[in-house]
């Protein structure tokens, strides 16, 4: 046992001196989490979406008034009135507004007489979300007018109505609320800010790189000749492997824990129940070690082992939804993601971040531990390949 501890301490000392290991274990995942957090901060539910729109009312009629009223009711939007189409174009071009609406001259009259009329939307390509919303608002208003216009036309065909009565019908119809509205609903337990999601995602993604050195280290020692020196010493090969494994485990735990603390304190990520997080970190590191150990037994050289481990970490990390939630993908992708330990880790951490406790993540814990035991068990059976006798 003392030999295993000595080997693990030596491993840790070497890791601390290896700047690339520190970069992979902490700097890159924290940096990426911070970048994603800052980039996507304005799409978080809790940080409100805002946009500035311009409207050029060249019509001045009642329907133009109705449209401006509709715009005024948009609580996320600031509306600027401009006098000409050119002014609206200019404001959109220079990015002052995200989009501009142009109500052309004669718009109200054309609609009332059943003629074709255009409500123009000018969008800024750099503000795609605000532009899409502007198009949606205008489209919705146009649809409403079309349905109202159809009702009016039918009513007029029925006879008995003069022009002023028709106008009244149009105005009333315009006030009628839409019969169907979009209702946004999300699963409360997985409702995370982008900061928390990417803090979790990056920690899970990179722990599979961080622990990879442990198993690969045996191949490195073999190549460097130090493995022979270790094996001539009065140490059982199992202790050598145990020492290497212990070193990788400690680095994995320290790396993930540091990320949890740093993203909580510096990025305001909310990981949730500390006990659940600690247990899941523990199991997650074990599963990452199992995978990297298995991959290492398939390799002949350290470089080969590193390549295999990287491929496995990237493919399974993407599949496991560490960068993008797989819940939004097709059913096949969601089914395949269950083959990745990262998917279960993400699920467990997201449940905790959404307010769950240790008791709520038992399925994820069980799955992650199963991965650790199965992958690590197969690796242990194949470990003899690493120490040729």
């Amino acid at each position: 046992m003392r030999a295993a501890v000595a080997i693990a301490l030596k491993e840790l000392r070497q890791r601390l001196r290896d700047r690339s290991a520190i970069v992979i274990a902490f700097v890159v995942p924290f940096g990426l989490a911070a970048i994603f957090s800052l980039t996507l901060a304005n799409v978080d539910e809790e940080s409100e979406f805002t946009a500035t729109y311009a409207v050029a009312d060249l019509d001045g009629g009642p329907l133009a008034d109705a449209f401006r009223s509709t715009l005024a009711e948009l609580d996320f939007a600031t509306i600027r009135q401009v006098g000409t189409r050119e002014a609206a174009d200019e404001l959109t071009d220079d990015g002052t507004v995200s989009a501009a609406f142009v109500v052309p001259e004669g718009f109200s009259a054309a609609v009332r007489s059943g003629e074709a009329a255009e409500l123009e939307v000018i969008t800024d390509p750099d503000a795609s979300v605000a532009g899409a919303i502007a198009r949606s608002v205008a489209g919705s208003f146009a649809s409403e007018l079309n349905s109202v216009n159809a009702s009016v036309t039918l009513a007029l065909r029925g006879g008995g109505h003069d022009q002023s009565e028709a106008q009244t019908i149009v105005d009333r119809a315009a006030d009628v609320p839409a019969t169907a509205v979009l209702r946004e609903d999300v699963t409360e337990s997985r409702l995370l800010t982008s900061t928390t999601f990417y803090a979790i995602g990056m920690a899970v993604f990179f722990v599979f790189f961080t622990v990879e050195f442990g198993a690969r280290g045996i191949l490195e020692e073999r190549q460097a000749g130090t493995l022979a020196r270790l094996l001539v010493a009065p140490v059982r090969p199992a202790w050598v492997i145990a020492g290497k494994t212990l070193g990788g485990f400690v680095v994995g735990i320290v790396s993930m824990s540091a990320l949890v603390v740093a993203t909580t304190l510096l990025l305001d990520a909310d990981w949730g129940d500390p006990l659940g997080v600690a247990v899941l970190v523990f199991c997650g590191v074990l599963s990452a070690m199992g995978l990297s150990a298995l991959v290492t037994t398939l390799a002949r050289t350290p470089a080969q082992a590193s390549s295999y481990a990287s491929v496995a970490a990237v493919v399974l990390g993407m599949l496991g939804g560490t960068f993008f939630p797989t819940s939004q993908g097709p059913a096949l992708l969601r089914a395949l993601s269950l083959l990745a330990p990262q998917a279960w880790l993400m699920r467990g951490f997201q449940d905790l971040a959404g307010g769950g406790s240790l008791a709520d993540i038992w399925a994820s814990l069980l799955a992650v531990l199963t991965f650790a035991v199965v992958l690590g068990g197969i690796a242990a059976l194949r470990a003899g390949r690493l120490v040729p006798r």
Binding site: A224, G225, A228, A233, P234
Partner: protein, 322 residues
């Protein structure tokens, strides 16, 4: 109980006794039936060309490699891959430098010393002692990736001494080493012998074997083909001289012609000449030059007294460095 092993020429206790060592890799038999013993304070050289089976043999001796058959005893204890305790008496210096480049010399020593169970004051004292022996005390706290090749070699040897081994195994420790470092390494090995350590030294340099070793085992194609002191081995060749001809031309035909000359016992062609074993170089050389000259242009002649190289040539029909 270790088997009774003969061969050691001293009355001192036997430290290493091995016999019948055999190891194959697939269809290729790397070592077959090798056995020898080394007494306390004795340096035993395992001399053979590259690929002869030296490293495979010492890997079995050190318990690094499983053997198909045979036995190894170090200090009376059976050694194999599953007996780590028995390996505690062995110090191993691998052919390639086996140190951690991102650790200092002291950290390298400390790590391996802990594996050998050294702790506390003993550990610190032994590390200081080793640093003195390998003359690295003033560089002890520098990372070894900043060391010169010679310094790394010295540390490589120092690591093998940490456990005060009863048997020190050095696997071609001077390969790729500059002459100055090589001389320092050889001087170190001589000191180890004087200190009473049993040393197993593998090399394909005849001069090293002649300088260092009390007894030499000549190994070729996995077989120990001869064993003894330098004098005993040279006696196998008799009063024969070795003649090395540098020649250009049809050296194959020239060698065959030279082999028919009276007094020539063996003529072995090489790429740039012919190696001959002759009974009396002075008497036979004119005729050798005449018959060789008919097929090749002789550019140089070197006559040497019998040595281990000649023994190897005599026993195997090929030069040690082939």
């Amino acid at each position: 109980m270790p088997p009774a092993v003969t061969g050691s020429s001293t009355d001192r206790p036997i430290v290493l006794a091995c016999h019948g060592l055999r190891r194959s890799f697939g269809d290729r038999v790397a070592v077959d039936g090798v056995g020898f013993s080394i007494a306390d304070g004795e340096t035993y050289g395992l001399l053979g060309p590259n690929g002869a089976g030296k490293t495979t043999t010492i890997s079995m001796v050190c318990g690094l490699l499983e053997r198909d058959s045979g036995e190894v005893y170090v200090d009376g204890r059976a050694v194999d891959t599953s007996t780590p305790e028995a390996r505690a008496a062995i110090g191993y210096v691998p052919q390639d430098i086996a140190i951690y480049p991102d650790l200092t010399a002291r950290e390298n020593l400390r790590f391996f010393a802990k594996l050998y169970g050294l702790r506390g004051v003993d550990l610190d004292a032994r590390i200081a002692e080793i640093l003195e022996i390998v003359e690295l005390s003033d560089r002890a706290d520098e990372r070894t990736d900043r060391f010169s090749g010679g310094m790394k070699r010295r540390l490589n040897i120092g690591l093998g001494l940490l456990n005060r081994p009863r048997l020190l195994v050095l696997d071609e420790p001077t390969v790729g080493v500059d002459p100055q470092s090589r001389n320092a390494i050889l001087a170190s090995v001589e000191r180890f012998r004087q200190q009473g350590m049993a040393v197993l030294y593998t090399t394909h340099y005849m001069e090293e074997a002649e300088r260092l070793c009390d007894r030499v085992g000549i190994i070729d194609v996995g077989h120990l083909i001869a064993e003894g002191t330098r004098r005993e081995l040279v006696a196998m060749v008799g009063e024969r001289d070795r003649v090395a001809l540098d020649a250009r031309g049809d050296v194959q035909t020239a060698a065959k012609a030279a082999a028919d000359v009276d007094g020539v016992e063996r003529a072995t062609p090489r790429e740039d000449g012919i190696d001959l074993v002759v009974r009396d170089a002075g008497a036979t050389l004119p005729e050798i030059l005449r018959v060789v000259g008919a097929h090749a242009h002789v550019t140089g002649v070197d006559i040497s007294e019998p040595n281990l190289e000649a023994v190897f040539l005599h026993l195997t029909g090929k030069a040690l460095r082939e």
